[in-house]
């Protein structure tokens, strides 16, 4: 993926988050839909902008930690009140 394609993807994911937030969804469903979009954006920034695509072993480590972190965020956001 080129840097410009990565930027277009980030813009598209950001607009996707805005659309989901503007759809009227709230509560845990909003969190379950919006946080994975943020996760995808973070992955693009790590691999393309920060260049981890050149270091696959390190990229896998970052991806694992990010996945655990996002799972924790989604779990807390969807936690019943």
């Amino acid at each position: 993926m080129t840097l410009t394609r990565a930027w277009i993807l980030l813009i598209a994911l950001s607009l996707g988050s805005t659309l989901v937030a503007a759809s009227g969804l709230s509560g845990r469903w909003l969190a379950v839909l919006v946080l994975p979009l943020a996760w995808a954006k973070a992955q693009v920034i790590l691999t393309r902008y920060l260049g981890l695509a050149q270091a696959p072993a390190i990229a896998r480590g970052f991806a694992l930690v990010l996945a655990l972190f996002m799972a924790a965020l989604i779990g807390l956001a969807a936690w019943p009140a």
Binding site: A31, V34, Y49, L73
Partner: protein, 184 residues
């Protein structure tokens, strides 16, 4: 893993090792803050939702586009540094820093409106977290802008890559912070 393997792994890391130590440290601090924010929210979801309604969601959404575009310019500047296109590199870094100023201007508008409404750190736990997390992030945006302008002077590949890496960390934190604090 042998010492040679570890060395090879570190050598694979793009850019400066110390910048990565800084990036990982910052990500851990912001990550802990976001987890604490959502954990405390469980105790008062209605209060957090009411407090969130005072924020500038649209401006924060625009700020996401602003930072993502700024990060793209910084990434292109690294490529310019490798190609020796110094004039183009400097313009891109100045534009990236300029977008950082746009980000801070929009954020300042939100802080000013909260202050006018009498909302501050101690109004509600939501605002304690909001002001700490976004304020700390805004301080990093300001530091990143200065760093981008400083590395634009020597414009060496190493300096540009280090400045851009810090800027991408700022970008990365925001794309995670924005939905947690402003949307969900």
């Amino acid at each position: 893993m042998s010492a040679a393997d570890q060395r090879a792994l570190i050598d694979d890391l793009p850019g400066d090792l110390m910048m990565w130590v800084l990036i990982v440290s910052e990500l851990l601090v912001f990550g802990a803050g976001m987890l604490a924010f959502l954990a405390v929210r469980i105790t008062d979801p209605a209060g957090f939702a009411e407090a969130q309604s005072h924020l500038h969601r649209t401006a924060a959404g625009i700020n996401t586009l602003v930072l993502v575009t700024s990060g793209w310019l910084a990434a292109l500047a690294v490529r310019d540094a490798e190609a020796g296109a110094l004039a183009r590199l400097r313009w891109r870094l100045v534009l990236a820093a300029g977008l950082g100023a746009v980000f801070l201007w929009l954020k300042a508008g939100e802080y000013a409106d909260l202050a006018r409404e009498g909302l501050s750190f101690d109004s509600h736990p939501f605002f304690t977290f909001h002001l700490l997390l976004t304020g700390f992030h805004a301080a990093h945006v300001a530091a990143g802008m200065i760093l981008l302008l400083i590395v634009a002077l020597p414009a060496t590949p190493r300096a540009t890559e280090a400045g851009a890496a810090f800027w991408h960390m700022v970008d990365l934190v925001w794309v995670l912070l924005f939905p947690v604090v402003y949307l969900i």
